[in-house]
């Protein structure tokens, strides 16, 4: 059985993540949990709840046959995308991820309507129905996708970082990938190039303990994934991915390092997915109890709610946000169901520059 992600207890609140083992190499400073204002806590809550409710709705639409094919939900991992992306500079920095991409787009404030419409394959979808759940892009937000091939985005992200440096635009690339993806060869080719060329990139491993039905221990010789960059001299950080403030705090430490021109950082975010790998996965490879234990003990949204209460945000306010989010999600589903399909001739557009 995989270990449930540990949450730093109140007592150890000082350090949001495990410090790197003592080495004689320099690395980012030890991170501290982000000190959020009540307004920021509300913002995080709104974003994380939007992801969860959106994904629940996507699951329902899938069940109704309105979304076809492959659809990977982000439920359980909300604090990762929200915590990390809140630390980025939306005008400068770029983001790229794999197929489990709805959450990263929502965390960027991209309109849920056009995301949901992409899932249902409609012309009004953000990629005009051509990409589907796994392949979504946004020029405005420097969001470079949404990639179905496991590991591919790590090399692409390294290329984005090269371009940031080449242009001298001060931007950082953030490349997300899974624990399973961390075994692809091109990940290590990318690590080497990124450190060799001191590229401005944060490699983010979202360690949700499973790659489909294969747990980390059954696929990875070094299961402390934040150490995977060591032989390339890339500093690693292991972060509690179920605590949005820990994630945000760690992101700031990593960004300081990268923005100072010191090269890449590898962050391992310990998290958990509550649902099956995709909608067609009955998840027989782990017990119900294991999933329930994480939901009960480590749920990122419940944890954030507590922080909000501690910060004096009232029950009423939280309820209002819940209502507001439900309305946004319902609207996105209505839009995605009623928007028209692409035109037939769209099959042939965008294959190459010229239409042929």
């Amino acid at each position: 059985m995989a270990k449930a992600p540990a949450r730093a207890s109140a007592a150890s609140k000082k350090t949001a993540s495990t410090p790197s083992p003592a080495t004689n190499r320099e690395g980012p400073r030890d991170p501290v949990p982000y000190d959020a204002t009540p307004a920021e806590l509300e913002k995080f809550y709104r974003e994380m709840l939007l992801i969860r409710r959106f994904e629940e709705k996507a699951g329902q639409l899938y069940g109704l046959g309105l979304i076809g094919g492959f659809c990977h939900l982000y439920i359980g991992q909300e604090a990762v995308a929200v915590g990390l992306q809140s630390a980025l500079d939306g005008d400068k920095d770029s983001v790229i991820t794999g197929y489990r991409d709805h959450g990263h787009m929502l965390a960027y404030g991209i309109d849920p309507k056009v995301i949901m419409a992409e899932l249902t394959g409609r012309a009004a979808g953000i990629s005009r129905g051509k990409g589907g759940s796994m392949h979504m892009f946004s020029v405005e937000h420097k969001f470079y996708g949404g990639h179905g091939i496991v590991g591919a985005q790590v090399s692409l992200g390294t290329g984005l970082a090269f371009a940031h440096k080449y242009r001298g635009d001060g931007g950082v690339a953030m490349s997300y990938f899974g624990d399973g993806a961390s075994n692809q060869g091109q990940v290590y080719e990318s690590f080497n190039m990124a450190e060799l060329w001191k590229l401005p990139i944060i490699f983010v491993i979202e360690n949700n303990q499973y790659a489909m039905g294969t747990s980390v221990n059954r696929s990875s010789a070094e299961d402390q994934l934040y150490r995977r960059g060591e032989s390339f001299r890339i500093p690693g950080m292991q972060v509690d991915g179920m605590d949005v403030l820990a994630v945000r705090g760690a992101a700031e430490a990593a960004l300081e390092w990268v923005r100072a021109g010191k090269g890449p950082v590898l962050m391992e975010l310990k998290t958990y997915r509550y649902r099956g790998h995709s909608m067609s996965d009955p998840a027989k490879y782990r017990s119900r109890e294991e999933v329930q234990a994480v939901r009960d003990k480590s749920d990122a949204i419940e944890h954030l709610k507590k922080l909000m209460t501690d910060a004096g945000i009232g029950e009423d306010k939280i309820k209002d946000i819940d209502k507001e989010i439900r309305a946004i999600v319902a609207e996105s589903a209505d839009f995605a169901e009623s928007a028209p399909e692409p035109e037939l001739h769209d099959l042939y557009t965008d294959v190459l520059v010229e239409q042929y």
Partner: protein, 346 residues
């Protein structure tokens, strides 16, 4: 067609069960056989093709690999050179590309460059093809990439009985084989009408599968339906689609299921086209440089003076596999009927 030791009881199997049974039989018979791949061991494969095999044959012979296709195929080539008979699974054919270097530059060349000192008796199993709303990265048909390599055999079964016999022959073969499994028909043949209920394999004669060992020789096509009016060349899912349309239109077509693209049963093709004088080639894969182009060229070379109409092709469009509009893309009933009408009029 069956070899002598076939005389075991038969069982009703779908394609997944037949493929599972082939590996089970080979694991039993030959200690050099190992089965490996992503989610293959503990989980039994995303399509359940290896379900139960790890439990029965142990973790050293049926095991999970990390997600690294280049590594999977490369390691299998080394195992094969040392005398094992690896059967790696690539979870979807769309993910074979990271491993293509090992397949092309090593697996397919080892026999040649070592002057047969070393060989690569590896069988790469991989589900392929569309019709399941998989979009770009779960639907592609890369068979003509494989046949273009030189040095790998390419096999595509179209029913449970063939799947088992061909897979056993592939595993026993002393050369690398890419075994492409048409995933749309894992659970039942496909009529091409996506809005009709799926008919289970149990209603089909080819679901009666011997439980023991038997082989279907690689390089032998099967005549699915005899006819005089034209020859239809197809494989995998499209065998069933075209059969449905031919029967609906009451066309006297001879349908040949190629079963192995390389080596190709060119003699069977030649004999049929010389008899009918017309030839229609059907595949799901994109058109340009597709396997249909090779077939059309061969038919033209060998049967030119017998042809009464140009060789026709019905194929996927030259685009990535779409997420929306899958049924507009899929070479289904309308396009097949149109081609049949045209070729018979010419």
């Amino acid at each position: 067609m069956m070899s002598a030791d076939t005389m075991t009881a038969t069982k009703t199997m779908n394609m997944i069960e037949a493929i599972n049974s082939a590996m089970d039989v080979m694991l039993e018979r030959d200690s050099n056989v190992v089965v490996m791949g992503e989610d293959v061991g503990f989980f039994g494969g995303v399509f359940r093709a290896t379900a139960g095999l790890q439990k029965k044959h142990g973790k050293t012979r049926v095991f999970d690999t990390p997600i690294n296709e280049c590594g999977i195929i490369g390691v299998a080539v080394g195992m094969g050179a040392y005398g094992l008979r690896p059967v790696p699974e690539i979870q979807f054919a769309d993910y074979i590309y990271p491993g293509l270097d090992q397949l092309v530059s090593e697996a397919a060349r080892l026999r040649y460059r070592s002057a047969a000192d070393f060989i690569c008796p590896m069988t790469v199993r991989t589900p392929f093809g569309g019709g399941i709303f998989g979009g770009q990265t779960h639907s592609q048909s890369p068979e003509s990439i494989m046949t273009h390599i030189c040095g790998v055999k390419t096999v595509i079964p179209s029913n449970p009985y063939d799947a088992k016999g061909l897979l056993i022959a592939a595993i026993e073969d002393n050369d690398p084989v890419v075994f492409l499994e048409p995933k749309r028909i894992y659970n039942g043949p496909f009529s091409g009408y996506y809005d009709r209920p799926v008919e289970p394999w149990s209603k089909h004669a080819a679901s009666a599968v011997p439980e023991g060992h038997y082989r279907i020789e690689l390089g032998k096509a099967a005549t699915v339906r005899e006819g005089e009016a034209l020859t239809v060349l197809a494989y995998g899912t499209m065998v069933h689609v075209v059969k449905t349309i031919v029967e609906e239109l009451k066309v006297d077509a001879e349908i040949i299921d190629l079963r192995t693209l390389l080596p190709l049963d060119i003699d069977a093709i030649e004999a049929s086209v010389k008899k009918t004088g017309r030839c229609l080639v059907i595949h799901e894969a994109t058109r340009t440089s597709g396997f249909g182009a090779e077939l059309a060229a061969l038919v033209q070379e060998r049967c030119f003076y017998h042809l009464e109409a140009p060789v026709e092709r019905v194929t996927g469009f030259d685009t990535p596999y779409p997420h929306s509009l899958e049924w507009a893309y899929f070479p289904g009933p309308v396009r097949i009927a149109t081609a049949l009408t045209k070729i018979l009029k010419d």
